[in-house]
Structure formats: structure tokens, C-alpha cells
């Protein structure tokens, strides 16, 4: 059930949302992938399109299009002792900025948040920098945010990539 009072206020509280987004990014940088997955609602998904303005992940290739089941398989693999592409692992550093609350639906206790992200990753003498515009659909449940969906539009979404392991 959508909650009321303080919960609804949280949907318009930019500081609370910023704390949440920074926490989310920190989980990825600290490779606490299972905790990152737990931030998503049960029907939540994470989507990184391969084309600017890609309308839908249905019927068109995406860099990431993970529901919670796929995330589980993905992160179990990243924990495997013989995941060669992460031996050694990528180190990452996310920076979250330009946070703006875009749309609030108080009846559903949801909001859409726009932000930008920069992620540097490093592995075996190669450092890369990714940048993208991010949209989160957040739901306020009890006293916490849950991610309904997160979409990352990389500025170089249609680039030719070397292997990628850590979500943006």
C-alpha cells in the first residue's frame, strides 16, 4: 500500500532522493551487487538502450535489460571464482549529479527522477569513462524507496564496447 504523510513528502524531497541515488551508486562501486538488486521492486527492471531515443527494449537489442531474475543470474556469475572477464575485476567509480525530480504521482506514491552519471572503470591498464543521462522511477514503500525501473542513456550508447561488467 502506498503510504502517506512523510512518505509522500519524501517523493518531493530532493535531498532524500539524492541520498538514495548516491547510496545506490556506492553499492555498485563497492560491488555489493545483491544489495543493489534488492533496491529494485519485485517487478523492477534495469535498462541500458543501444540507440538514442530507443522507445522500447521489446524486439530491439539492449546493452542491459535485466529483470530481477536476470540480475540474480548475472551477479551469481560475477561471484563465481572462475569468471575470467572479472579476473581481476573492474574497479569503478560512479558520480551522480544534476538530480531533478521530474514527475510526481502522489496517488501511486511514485516519482520519476532525472540525473546524470559518470562512471569510470579500470581493469588491466585500461581506464574508460562512461557518461549518461539517467531516469529512475521510484516508489515510496514504508519508509524506503524502491526502484520500479532505471534507464541509463549513455552518450555513446551505439559505440563499439570492450567488455562491460558493472552496471552504470
Amino acid at each position: 500500500m502506498p503510504d502517506t504523510g512523510a512518505g509522500q513528502n519524501a517523493l518531493t524531497d530532493r535531498r532524500l532522493i539524492e541520498v538514495f541515488l548516491i547510496h545506490e551508486a556506492t553499492l555498485l562501486d563497492e560491488r555489493r551487487f545483491e544489495e543493489w538488486r534488492d533496491l529494485f521492486d519485485e517487478d523492477g527492471y534495469y535498462w541500458v538502450p543501444l540507440r538514442p531515443d530507443q522507445a522500447s527494449p521489446d524486439g530491439e537489442a539492449s546493452l542491459f535489460y535485466d529483470d530481477k531474475a536476470i540480475m540474480k543470474t548475472r551477479f551469481e556469475r560475477l561471484r563465481h571464482p572462475r569468471v575470467h572477464s572479472q579476473t581481476p575485476p573492474h574497479r569503478t567509480c560512479h558520480v551522480v549529479g544534476n538530480i531533478a525530480i521530474d514527475e510526481v504521482d502522489l496517488a501511486r506514491a511514485e516519482c520519476t527522477v532525472k540525473s546524470t552519471m559518470i562512471m569510470a572503470d579500470y581493469r588491466l591498464k585500461v581506464q574508460r569513462v562512461f557518461a549518461g543521462r539517467v531516469r529512475h522511477r521510484l516508489r515510496r514503500r514504508a519508509d524506503a524507496f524502491r526502484i520500479a525501473w532505471k534507464r541509463v542513456d549513455l552518450v555513446n550508447c551505439d559505440d563499439t564496447f570492450e567488455l562491460i561488467a558493472v552496471p552504470f
Binding site: 541500458v48 543501444l50 540507440r51 530507443q54 527494449p57 521489446d58 524486439g59 530491439e60 537489442a61 539492449s62 546493452l63 542491459f64 535489460y65 536476470i70 543470474t73 548475472r74 551469481e76 556469475r77 563465481h80 572462475r82 569468471v83 575470467h84 572477464s85 579476473t87 551505439d158 559505440d159 563499439t160 564496447f161 570492450e162 567488455l163 562491460i164 561488467a165
Partner: protein, 433 residues
Amino acid sequence: MNLGDTAEIRSLMRPDRVHRSVYLDPKIFELEMRNVFGRAWVYVGHESLVPRPGDYVTARIGSQPVVLSRHTDGRIYVFYNSCSHRGAVVCNEEKGSTKLFRCPYHGWTYATNGDLDAVSMPRGYGESFDLKDPALGLGRVARVSVYRGFVFASQAQSGPDLEAWLGPARESIDEMCDRAPEGEVDLGGGVHKYLFRGNWKLQLENVIDMYHVPFSHESTIGAGGRQFGRRPGESAGSAISDRGAAAAKWEQRTAWGARDFGHSYAGHQPVAEQIPDDPVFKAYVAALEARHGRERTLEILRPRRHNTAFFPNMTLQALNHHVRVIIPVAVDRTEIRVYPVKLKGAPEELNRGFVRQLNITHSAASLIQTDDLECFRRCQEGIEAQGSEWVWFARGIDTDRPDERGDLVNNGTVETQQRAQHAAWVRLMCAAG
């Protein structure tokens, strides 16, 4: 090394081993661009990427930038992406639709079949300069041929025609297309693009390699040796590993390699395909039966070929439907394009499932292909070592047997397919002319 001497080139590829310089030497790479990619039928794209007149995609034939375009006459043309005047690329986009290609530098324009359309300020040229000369059009690649929507081009003026070149490997394209109720596939579902710091042959040798799977992809194999499910609704995938070795039934897979032009495939596991018990798949089967009847439908659904490698630059996978294109960039740098394959006439939901699954297995952030890319990178780095002059492809060499056509057949986790690739490589690298 004198690369003009064919005996020297032959000495680099022995039946059971390849000299490491074949992966390392930039001069060999240059010769490959001329003699392999300059002579072979090279896959350049698919008709479904350019459905309407004016639609185009850009591609490469080895080092050569080309445009694949559908002209107003409805036919496919492949021409070099280089203005006849000063050489600038006339088409900057990966795909699009246009009436004319216009060079940005001095404004020369070309029709969608590559013919010269107009020269800006033509009076600046003297009378000796014939603007009607066909040689002023964008250079056409010597030969273009289409097989069931798959467009191939050859830069050689003469040689075997496409069907002869493809030989029995054609049947892999047939199998894929026949799985579509309308008999055609659609590659318009986007593209995964990645690069690795390694030689292009590392990818070609890998796709039909059934030996690497339990090891390279160990991180995808769960309890009981089964991989995660690869099809919509599947909770677990194939049995891959049995106590650290390849599962026994993998040894029954067919391995096939064409001795002449180097195509090859790895057969499917010899197990009956279980027709999934879900309404979407049932609707798909019904669509196939409406066209082909029950018996032929069951034959179409029976998997025979898992991965097929069309020498030198295209592969087809039947498990996670896709077409993979290998683009050599430099001796130690390769780009890959992976196109989801949709089956025309199949339920949209089924095709969405294929596309979605391919994200998981073959995007640059995927769970499967990333470990292959890591192995290619490590091969390139490791082959630099002088510890051994040779890279070995001896697995199963004593049990290779000829089929009725004289191609090589074997079973299981052998390197028969790579031996066929290497034989074709030698033939093209050493061919006269």
C-alpha cells in the same frame, strides 16, 4: 619473412598447428586484407536491413569501407564509400535512408546505386573531362550476390559463384530461414557491437569450438553442470559440464569443415528438441504447420547445427538466433557485430524472447560473450611470448574422416573446423592473381 613466397606462407599453417606470427605480424594482416578479404565472398549485410528503396547500411569488407544500398530499381548495390573526386566518405551513418549520397567536401552527388548524379559547378572542368564517364561513379564492388536475404560481396572479378562458395554451409542459412513461418528472417532488431584487442581469426576459430565451453564459460554453469536457461521460460539450460569435463553427449556432436572454402559448423547436441509447452511456442508451431504440415514442421524444429562459421567473416547461431559479423581492424584489434534474428511470421512474443535472451548471452555486458572476449585478449597477449612458435589445432586430427564430398567430418570437441578454416586461408593467401 618473404610473404611474396607462397612456400613461406604455407609453412606458417601446418595441418595440426599455426605459426604464432599469423596472429601477430601486421604484414600478414595486410596480405589477408588483399588476398583473403579481397578474394572471398564476404558477408556485408542482410536485405531486411534495407527494406525500401533508398535504405542503406554501411559496412566493411576487410579494410574497405562500403555502402550496401537498395536502389530505386529495388536491387541491392554494394559500392565503396569514397567520393570519386577527393576520396571523402560520402556516407557517415551506419544506416539510414536517402535519395542521394552527397559528398560534404565539394558537393558531388551520387544515386543510390552509386552512379554519379551531379558535379557541382561542372563548367570548371575542361571539355576533355567526361562527366558521363561511368568510372566517376562510386566504385562498385566487383560481385554482389544474395542468398535467402544474406548479401555477400566479392572484390574478385572472377571465381566461384556464391552458391558454389557456400557449398553445404548454405543449409545452415536454410535451416534458420525455414524456422520462420514465412521462410525469411529479419535482422532489424538492433545490433550489439563490441571490440577486442586481438586478431580476427580468434573469433572465427572460437564460434565452432565446442572444447572451450565448460572452461571459458564455467562461471555460467550451475549445480549439476547445467547452464542457465537460454530460452524464454527455461529454468535451466544445456548440460555442459560433467565433473569438470565436457558432458559426454557433447562428444556426439557433429563437427564439419569444408576443405575448399573453409566454412564449418558444430552440430547440435543429439537430443530431441523438446517443444516448449507454452501458448506462444504452440502458436509458432501452428504457424509452421499451416505452411509445411506436421512432418516437415517437426523436421524443421529438430536442431542439427549449433554454430556455423562462414569463412571469413560471418557466423550463424541457431541456439540464440543471431548473425555475427567479424570486422578486422588491425592485426591485434577486431570489431564484432551481433544481430538478433527474428523469424518472420512467428509470434511477436517469441521474437521478443529471442532478442531479450541475446542481450543476456551476447551483448558487450553479457554473461557469455564477455568471457570469450577475455580469452581472445589473453590469447593475443600470450601469443607474443616466444615460449612456443606454434598454436595447436591437433585435437581429433587422427579421427577426421572425409564425407562423400571430401569435406572433413568428426565428432565432439575436436578442432576439425579450425583445420578447415586454415586450409582455406592458405588457399586464398597463396592463390595466383
